[in-house]
């Protein structure tokens, strides 16, 4: 599998564990997982990038496709455990202004008001 997505719940936060690469080939699967969260009214998403090899602009587009809906519903998308190279993709385009990135899962949960 080039991309594996596993979801788990921690309080009212949905943690999305991503393994592999998000590129133009795998992005449909990522979009589907995000859309499913919207359908389930899971508006607080923490994307755990611990095993994310790389994300291309296709993956950033998928996030931009749902963020407005999520924010309108009082939620947010945050990321954690990004590698230096994944962080740099977000940072270099200014996406860190829109998506907070945390060093650990615990910090990400704390930012959503969980795990305090």
């Amino acid at each position: 599998m080039e991309l594996e997505i596993q979801k788990e719940k921690e309080g009212n936060v949905t943690i999305m564990n991503i393994k592999g690469a998000i590129n133009a080939h795998t992005v449909n699967e990522f979009e589907k997982a995000l859309e499913q969260c919207l359908e389930n009214r899971e508006y607080k998403l923490l994307i755990n990038c611990k095993d994310l090899d790389y994300i291309s602009s296709a993956g950033l587009g998928a996030l931009m496709g749902v963020i407005e809906n999520i924010k309108t519903n009082g939620g947010d998308i945050k990321l954690c455990n990004t590698s230096n190279s994944v962080y740099r993709v977000f940072d270099i385009l200014g996406f860190t202004e829109l998506f907070q990135i945390f060093d650990s899962l615990e910090e990400g949960l704390k930012a959503f008001g969980e795990n305090e």
């Binding site: 080039e2 602009s57 496709g65 190279s85 385009l93």
Partner: protein
């Protein structure tokens, strides 16, 4: 190894090759002495250039072929992605205002931004009936 390195590969215009090309590019960059971060950045730029070729030059026609050539000259790595499809038009080379982009939750057009940010030069052109995107990065 960085002197006169040359490798050419041809893939079908199918996104299923993207991860493979990404790994190949990282390995080549490591071999040439790029640090891990540069290797990942360069491979992402190649991913974006190949994706653009599949989507825009060939309109997702997976029977078409894309040539990818890696070569070094002096202390530079050049990666040339070439095709015989629709050449990129200058109006596609508009760089979004990122402040407005993020405020209005826009989509698309970021691939070329990443290529420009991560490479020393990005050049588009045509030669002998083929159209190319040439990515260059100085070897540390």
């Amino acid at each position: 190894m960085s002197n006169n390195f040359y490798l050419k590969t041809t893939i079908k215009a199918n996104t299923e090759y993207l991860t493979l090309i990404n790994k190949l590019t990282v390995d080549i960059c490591n071999l040439l002495g790029f640090n891990e971060e540069d290797a990942k950045n360069i491979s992402l730029a190649v991913d974006e250039a190949v994706t653009n070729t599949i989507k825009h030059a060939y309109k997702m026609d997976s029977e078409k072929e894309i040539d990818i050539e890696y070569f070094t000259k002096k202390d530079e790595l050049t990666i040339e992605i070439s095709h015989t499809g629709i050449p990129i038009s200058p109006d596609k080379l508009i760089f979004p205002d990122m402040k407005e982009y993020l405020e209005k939750y826009k989509k698309g057009g970021l691939g070329i931004m990443l290529m420009i940010k991560f490479m020393d030069s990005v050049e588009y052109g045509s030669e002998n009936g083929k159209h190319f995107c040439k990515l260059t990065k100085k070897i540390n």
